[in-house]
Amino acid sequence: MAETERREADGSAKEADIGRVEEEDSKTSDGAGSGRIEYVSYKDETQLPDIMALIDQELSEPYSIFTYRYFITLWPDLCFMNNEQIGAVMLAFHEGKCIGTLVCKMGQHRNTFRGYIAMLVVVKQHRGKGIATELVTRCIQVMRDAGCDEVTLEAEVTNLGALALYGNLGFIRAKRLHRYYLNGFDAYRLKLLFPRPHDANRMLLGGGYSMDPYQMHDCSKLDHDHDQVLFTKATSFSIQVQNS
């Protein structure tokens, strides 16, 4: 168990500080003033130097060429998109210049089919325009449509911009990883669970333990009841209004 987690931990990446990205509405800022942002999926090797330069410049963790190759379409078992539109690497262009990129993958993880966002970078001068949100949203949509159960990633505890961005998209901070990054900072493992309408029972109560009616009412079997408190307590009104 621990080993698997280590592997997962080792195989992870870091979010760049994406600043005030969550404040912006991507749709309105998209065409505003400074030119249009164009989102494209990874096409070929010629884009790789751009991506590597961007990530090298903005992220603290060092990545080997193998890591990039891992995520890029070269290995069929790892390339999740046969779909030409969005690949495992997405790029944002502004006036022909690559200003943002997202690297991700999809795969089986224990019993779930899991999407994983490995790297996300938007260059400093283009932050706050919703580009990161747009990249992530597009990526998650693809993952959802491809049948992922959940999406995970790691982000530095101090990277409030990234945490807010993912929080707004429905991610929870599932775990904390002590001194995860080489710079000594902790990380959160963030997780987003997709709804599973076809499996409503699982949503209600969880996987392993099936409840029968007797256990459903287990709470009243104990000497406590969540609801009844209300009716006994709400009868008296005694908040003392302070004189202002």
């Binding site: 429905g170 969880g206 333990y209 009844q228 003392q240």
Partner: protein, 727 residues
């Protein structure tokens, strides 16, 4: 190359360059040859050699080897006294940095003197200090490795990578230290003797340095550092004795070390005197010596080829102030371990560890605690855990001797409890993940306790006693499981895992867990009524309850023991309820706004949060719909909800008084737990009070007012205070 690995009888060396380049030409751009087992982990672990970002050996500044450094005179054996003090100080800073999880090679063994201690022999002071340092580091490293509560790499690196961590004759370091200490002490006495005896003292001992006016100050500075070193060594040795036999002596030396640390601290003024003012200011912030100067004889570059085969971690040696603070806290934390009464029962020990962790002790202190608690795999080094558990279970001897299921259960329970104790000593982030993982073990244990009953009732003549045992065991597992879940949920607040929009559901679930814990605690303590009713009686009970309006008050155990934990659970539960209704009301009142998320809903987040708890039988799994059902209460107005919340925060006040009284009487608790309880009572009082004030404000204003409410964990780590602001 070919000379290093000679060709054998069947093999020869061939130049494969042309073959490789022709193969490479076959590959088109972007293609890669790789083995099947080369996956993400391998890709991430692969290092690009010669890239300084990944290849720790590629840093090109500084000396390449130890020999080169020594030849260039980077570590002279002849040192002036001010230089020597700087070396001592920087070594301490390196030690503190190392214990905070950095590589030995980049910290303690960046000291060129420590890399070859024999070299320092001509300088008795330096030699004694270095030997003792090396011996101490070795003991610390061994203790941490034995305790095994650290995350390799993240917390601590136990690998030495060929560094000389152990030296021959280090066990005699104390004799060396005593000798030099004696010399310096005599010299100091000479200085103090004043002018009349000055001549005499000069005959007795060589002055440490040339300026007689500074002699006394330097004697002091050296002496307190030597004595601190010595006390630290004693503490390590005494704490290593099994079954807490050395704890009393260790405490004495902790006192000495603390007072010497104070002397070291006050020597800073003398040592930094005469430094250029602005450089002193700067060095106070960044420097790692009392004087503010950079110590000579340190160079981490000589070890770069000894680093782990991973990208280099960024590292900065702790500042002098932080170093002193680190050791001060470490000593206090060690003292708390030494004060642990060796008579504590299992429950109080668990309480102690939980309370101890709230003081955020560093790794070495936690490692020492774990070694004390589970020395040789026995509780406090004495009883095997199974024996300790039998005492807790209070199972009749006849049952224990005859019922195999009970015996098997006890063995399993001992294994899981031991695991729990160990987990409780790890860093809190890891602890929570590990607690999540062992929850299932506790769930299985509960099932095992039931299996016992089914089988043994038929086969045994012990009848009632077996059933009673059964109930005891079940109640115990149930209570322990609730305890683990409670810790799991509450740690989430300390680790800042919950966002504001999740607070309500977490408090709601936590409340459920607390009440379950309370129920089983009382069931266990009373030891009479069956803990688990049959499904039939449950149904009846449930129906009866639905009609009644009164909140059932839990029965209280007759003797005062454990009352504090009952009261504590009640306080927590009241606070949870206060927050549930406060958050519900604020949300409905639009003073708290929760964003809609596009990819999922609160229901998925509820499921994610409590997924692990849903796999348990006790505390009974609670669904999202149950949560929504019991918190929506649309027929009750917002104002009434505020009132309800207010009443619960008032009820806390009541229970806090009882808690204060019972905690003061709880003689079975450790001093650490009693102090922590007293502190927590104060914290909860503040939480209760301040939230009532906030409730009064929001209760007064109308729905149109632009008030925004946020929450701050300023008083208690798990229960916040509402802050009301005009927006």
């Amino acid at each position: 190359m070919d000379a290093a690995v000679p060709a054998g009888d069947q093999t020869i060396w061939l130049d494969a360059s042309s073959f490789l380049s022709s193969v490479c030409n076959e590959l088109s751009v972007g293609e890669l040859v790789h083995g099947e087992n080369f996956r993400l982990f391998e890709a991430m672990s692969a290092l690009e050699i010669m890239d300084p970002k990944m290849d720790a050996g590629m840093a090109t500044t500084g000396f390449k080897t130890f020999e080169e450094a020594i030849e260039s005179g980077a570590a002279p054996i002849e040192l002036t006294i001010p230089q020597l003090v700087d070396v001592f100080d920087h070594i301490l800073a390196c030690e503190a940095t190392w214990q905070n999880g950095h590589a030995l090679a980049q910290t303690v063994f960046s000291c060129l003197y420590l890399l070859n201690v024999d070299r320092t022999a001509p300088n008795a002071l330096l030699h004694a200090f270095c030997k003792t340092t090396r011996a101490s580091c070795s003991m610390i490293r061994t203790a941490i490795a034995l305790a095994d509560i650290h995350e390799q790499e993240e917390d601590f690196i136990t690998m030495a990578y060929g560094l000389p961590v152990e030296g021959e004759g280090d066990s005699r370091c104390l004799a060396l230290l005593n000798t030099v200490e004696e010399v310096v002490a005599r010299q100091l006495r000479g200085c103090k003797g004043g002018l009349s005896t000055k001549k005499k003292s000069l005959e007795d001992a060589e002055p440490l340095q040339d300026d007689p006016a500074l002699e006394e100050g330097y004697c002091h500075a050296i002496l307190c550092r030597l004595r601190f070193r010595k006390a630290l060594y004693h503490i390590l040795t005494y704490m290593d004795k099994p079954q807490g036999r050395g704890l009393e002596m260790a405490r004495k030396h902790i006192l000495v070390a603390l007072s010497e640390l104070q002397n070291i601290r006050s020597s800073s003024a003398f040592l930094s005197f005469g430094q250029a003012p602005d450089s002193v200011v700067e060095s106070k912030e960044r420097g790692s010596t009392a004087s503010g100067r950079v110590a000579i004889g340190f160079d981490e570059c000589v070890n770069r080829r000894l680093l782990a085969p991973t990208p280099p971690r960024s590292i900065s040696i702790l500042s002098w102030e932080d170093t002193l603070a680190y050791f001060e806290k470490l000593l206090q934390d060690l003292d708390r371990i030494c004060s642990l009464p060796m008579t504590l029962g299992l429950e109080e020990i668990l309480q102690f560890v939980m309370d101890y962790q709230k003081l955020k002790p560093d790794l070495f202190a936690r490692a020492r605690l774990q070694l004390l608690l589970l020395h040789d795999g026995k509780l406090l080094g004495r009883d095997p855990l199974a024996i300790a558990l039998v005492k807790v279970f209070n199972v009749p001897q006849s049952v224990m001797a005859n019922d195999h299921q009970t015996q098997a259960f006890t063995t399993q329970a001992a294994r899981v409890t031991k695991q729990l104790l160990k987990i409780m000593c790890t860093n809190t982030a890891w602890q929570r993940r590990k607690l999540g993982r062992i929850l299932q073990d506790w769930g299985n244990l509960l099932q095992q306790s039931k299996v016992t009953r089914d089988v043994s009732i038929e086969g045994s003549q012990l009848g009632d006693e077996v059933i009673q045992t059964e109930n005891m065991l079940t109640a115990w597992v149930a209570e322990q499981t609730c305890w683990v879940v409670r810790q799991f949920l509450m740690l989430g607040f300390q680790l800042d895992l919950y966002s504001l929009s999740e607070f309500c559901m977490v408090y709601w679930y936590l409340d459920h867990v607390l009440l379950s814990a309370l129920h089983y605690k009382l069931a266990k303590e009373s030891q009479t009524t069956p803990a688990i009713d049959s499904p039939d009686s449950v149904k009846k009970k449930g129906k009866k309850k639905k009609g009644s309006a009164a909140l059932k008050q839990p029965k209280t155990p007759k003797d005062g023991k454990f009352m504090y934990s009952v009261h504590l659970l009640q306080c927590y539960s009241d606070l949870c309820k206060g927050f549930i209704w406060m958050l519900t009301a604020l949300t409905r009142d639009r003073k708290l706004l929760h964003r809609e998320t596009i990819f999922n809903t609160e229901q998925e987040r509820f499921f994610q949060r409590f997924d692990l708890l849903h796999k348990l039988m006790i505390p009974a799994p609670m669904s999202y719909f149950h949560y929504k059902d019991s918190t929506s209460q649309m027929h009750i107005s917002v104002k009434e909800l505020y009132q309800l919340s207010y009443d619960h925060f008032m009820a806390v006040q009541q229970h806090l008084q009882e808690l204060g009284a019972s905690a003061a009487k709880a003689s079975e608790l450790s001093a650490v737990s009693r102090t922590q309880l007293a502190l927590e009572v104060k914290q909860m009082e503040q939480v209760s009070l301040r939230n009532r004030v906030a409730l009064q404000i929001v209760h007064q204003v109308g729905p149109g007012d632009n008030l925004r409410v946020s929450f701050e964990f300023s008083q208690h780590p798990c229960f916040p205070v509402a802050v009301v602001k005009k927006s």
